[in-house]
Symmetry: C6
Subunit: 254 residues, 6 copies
């Protein structure tokens, strides 16, 4: 069951993980590492440590609950996304809350379809805030979701040839400063005309994904209310509790 939650982990990652689990066990003076320790360690490694000092106000908790409920419900509704493992409004690292999805197996390719649904899931928190609080109350809380969605949509267009209107090509050259051992961005090797087309396509991908998220959530507003209420009360919802409320995710037939 640890393996199931850690696809894509290398040997070094797993070693690091077990160290964290051992520390957690030792803190509680246990002589053996329990499964619970492992699960806690997994989250710590993946999301950063819990931040007890990061105390949200009641209103902020409510926003976060709707935001995470949005991510979770859209992910649950779309066929090609990974199943929900846990939803939480306890702050971890930089995030006020998080929705944990874990792929059921290692994956080496990603399809266009999967990316489009991932975009919808990423924008679902923003969409939930829009639906519940309205345009004018949208918060900065969605900022990193928007950044990630833009990054992915741009890659669809410039690296994966997934935009029909731009053709089977890639755009831009990676620029690396070898003496710093770091990629420092992309060198534009195309014209303004193509740059404008790329922007247009990226906008189309994100806008369509946002519409999908909006529609999905508008059609199940009751679920959104139910899940956010549950989250506000319990703060954390595990896979089993989630599936008890909304059913098991249908396995995808490939």
């Amino acid at each position: 069951r640890v393996a199931q939650r850690t696809p894509g982990f290398t040997g070094a990652d797993l070693k690091n993980l077990m160290n964290e689990a051992a520390i957690l066990a030792a803190r509680e003076n246990k002589k053996e590492i329990s499964l619970t320790d492992c699960f806690q360690a997994i989250e710590k490694v993946m999301l950063g440590p819990e931040r007890k000092s990061f105390v949200l106000s009641m209103h902020e908790k409510k926003i976060t609950a709707y935001h995470e409920a949005g991510h979770a419900l859209v992910a649950h509704a779309l066929p090609n996304t990974d199943p929900i493992q846990k939803i939480s409004i306890i702050s971890r690292g930089e995030a006020a809350g998080y929705t944990l999805k874990i792929p059921e197996k290692d994956r080496h390719f990603r399809s266009k379809e999967e990316f489009l649904e991932e975009l919808a899931v990423l924008l679902a928190g923003y969409a939930a805030e829009k639906i519940i609080f309205g345009e004018n109350k949208i918060t900065t809380g969605a900022s990193s979701d928007l950044r990630e969605a833009t990054r992915i949509a741009r890659k669809l267009v410039t690296e994966y040839g997934m935009s029909k209107s731009l053709g089977p090509m890639t755009f831009g050259q990676k620029e690396e400063l070898i003496f710093l051992g770091k990629e420092i961005g992309e060198q534009r090797d195309y014209s303004e005309e193509v740059a404008a087309k790329i922007d247009q396509e990226v906008l189309t991908f994100t806008t369509n994904a946002y519409q999908k998220a909006l529609q999905t959530l508008e059609s199940q507003k009751e679920n959104l209310e139910k899940l956010s209420a549950e989250l506000t009360e319990k703060e954390t919802i595990e896979k089993e509790a989630f599936e008890a409320l909304f059913g098991k995710k249908k396995a995808l037939q490939e």
Copy 2:
């Protein structure tokens, strides 16, 4: 009451604050740090030391009084801004005067609505000068307000997805010179066409905010005269005195 005026302060900030308070107390040969020492220390830490040598002319005092009165009245009128703690035309750090607003609690998210009102408050000093002295007498005193308003309006559009016409995306990549440990600006990763749209949106946000500030102040020109006269005379107005004149700010229902 110290805690109320220091939201967002870390432990180190608070320690720094108490040192300053202790120095102030010591200067006056007091054996205990009074609440007044603490309040003075808070302002020094937040705004820089008072500048006694920075002597404004009578006319400059008048300009500053109208300018700060503008900030204060617009902030008082708009529902989502923090309540006024103090208004002053005694120079501190770089500023000729200042209007101190302190949030009532720590905040982790900012909403679009709050930003739009913050823009109006930032441009209210400029608007007050315009109303009282006219277009041609506007001074360089508003320069840092304008810079801050532009910075915020740009973030609404490029980082927070708060512009309807540009879609749920972010624009630009942060560029960091790691060997200098400093972010050196933003790398443009979009076309001229999008750059022009961003500029247009930023302009719309600032212009709307400026109009709101102008309307707010024009509709209470008597208050503007009253508050600036009071400020010119007293130089500093504390929260209690301000509320005595203009009433208590209505608490916002979230």
Copy 3:
């Protein structure tokens, strides 16, 4: 027969190759290096080591099989490409599978015709995925093919004078950071107008090549099914087995 598979190898390359072969032989406690050792060494040197830990799912194997079958069938169909030596869906280096073509002799010039067919072969994996799984299921697996095709198409236009509409010229200056001993990209020495024309030509080359790949594969869909089924079962198909199925490649008359 080693020489036949190693055109373009320098003395140092060959020495490196024999070392690898010797290591393979030594691992199996053989006192002599067999031809098989040499062949395995050639592939290791050219493509990187086999990656046993890189385990594809059943569905991913299927995608890879169609993808490689696409490369192989288009290469077999076009007159100016090198003959197929081996097709495999065993991961090597960064690639999930590979199709090995080895030129029959050292070549010092490449013709426009050869490049255009190479583009079609490069885009044939992407085309095969499109035909079998549809637009929405295209994967990231084609990303490096697209990058390579774009790089080549751009060189046709900017370095080899092979675009009729842009004339007998080259475009762009190589920029070298001598103190790093590395070329760091191309300095644009032309106008936006020319940049847009170059983009247009590159797009024309890649689009035409993609159409040729699509047509070739659509006209032999049965072969695509047959070869991918064979690959899924056997994982590796050598030249002889490939020719048994699809005939020997006709030698090109120069």
Copy 4:
């Protein structure tokens, strides 16, 4: 009277000034520093040392006299500028001549109105050359005036929000190379479209100021002749002599 000519001087500036005065006194074997020594020291500190070796031809003296007379007469005519202290065609530092205006008190804000008049004064030397010698005889002597006028007009538009058509915003980000401790210019963070609007506004400010200078000087051409003749003869005209000719500047009512 020293204080009146040294507004904005810090303690260190004043100390430096007195050193210079002491040196001047010592050179003439005086035991006390006279007021004259102080005045000479002020000019040396503000404008650089006199350049006795920089010998102008008769014709160049004439050009310089008209040029400085232009600055002085426009400054005298406009209500918001500082009063003339001294006009000279003796070279100092880089300048062939100079017109010294000293503000009557320290100033912390500058108004749009003051800047517009400052622009007219800066361009008045250029305008005087144009009126007297004609378009084709304009010299390089106005180069630093033009540069300064452009710099100020650009700041009105990009830093002080003093352009109506561009809105209450700032444009451009200061770029600093911290390891050099030096600002290295401005990073453009706006589109070409906005850049063209900024240029248009800067041009409007400078052109209007130039027209104002031209009109002012054309309407008092006799004064221009009288003052330049006086300057050519005397080389230096002090405040008192200037006011004897053209009257005292009317104090501005704020």
Copy 5:
């Protein structure tokens, strides 16, 4: 006769040359340096060492022969080019073959006319391939000719004022990194509009030169066949043999 083949050589070049000749003589155990040693040394110094390991296929030899024959015939036909010294399809340095022209005297100026003919000679190899093998069989072999032709055509326009439509001006500033002792390209100091005009002129020069090369070779297709056949057989043709076939080049009247 050595001097005739080495115009423009400095004393140091000549010393280097004689060293090479001495080495060649020594290799053959000769006690004296013969004229043949000198000639071989000249070619080695000018073109790099022969590359015996660079073995062209029969078809590649044929391509190279037509390519070099193209250069030679166009150079022979145009009045302002240097006379042919030697044509060879033995690889030297980076080139598969070469056509050696040696100016009859040192030259300090180059005329527009000479440059235009030089462009035609540079593009004649590419033109010959086009005529004989057709558009689709053009090879990468012409790449460095195209680069050199582009470089020269650009200099005509941007450095020598030889383009009528762009006027008696230069364009672009050399940028030098003094601490690297190397020029690192050209800084653009002109607008996009001018950049497009420069591109247009460069294209006109190269296209016209290419047309001249095409016409020259099409009108003497038999000579092209004859010379390439001779080259394929003999591999190297010296001046005397070339003149025996096509006559002596008419000396230019200046």
Copy 6:
């Protein structure tokens, strides 16, 4: 008479000059420095040493003679240029020939009129080549004249406010790399639209100056022939000989 030929020389320049003169005198075993030694030293310091090894062909001498005669005759014809001191077709430094004009006194300002004539003189060598040899025979010999003319015309527009259509402004900010102690060019601080206008004005200035040079020389073609014939024969013509042929330059009335 030394002073007359060395306006603008500093004390250090003069000391350097006398050293050179002393060396020349010493080489000829003279005990005293003659006036001739001084004159030779002046030219060496201003133009670089004579280059005896730089041997021009007869035809190149002819080109150079017409080129220098063009400079000299246009300079003689235009009222605001300095009088001719010497014309020579003996190579010095980088130049094949030179025309030496020495201003009659130190000058601190330059007028627009003087610059326009200087442009015509600079382009007169190019114009002479065009008139005598025709468009197609123009040589690279004019390259540095064109570069200098472009540099000056650009300064008229961007630094001296001498272009009517661009207004009383400057354009571009000097960029300095202080740690290299070197200005590395100009930072563009204006829009593409303004850049195109600047280019247009620079083109107008150079084209008008070129037309003036062409007209001047076409109207005195006989003088051009006479002076170039004289130069070809004598190689150097001193002021007195020049004035004997074409008269003394009329002194300019200022």
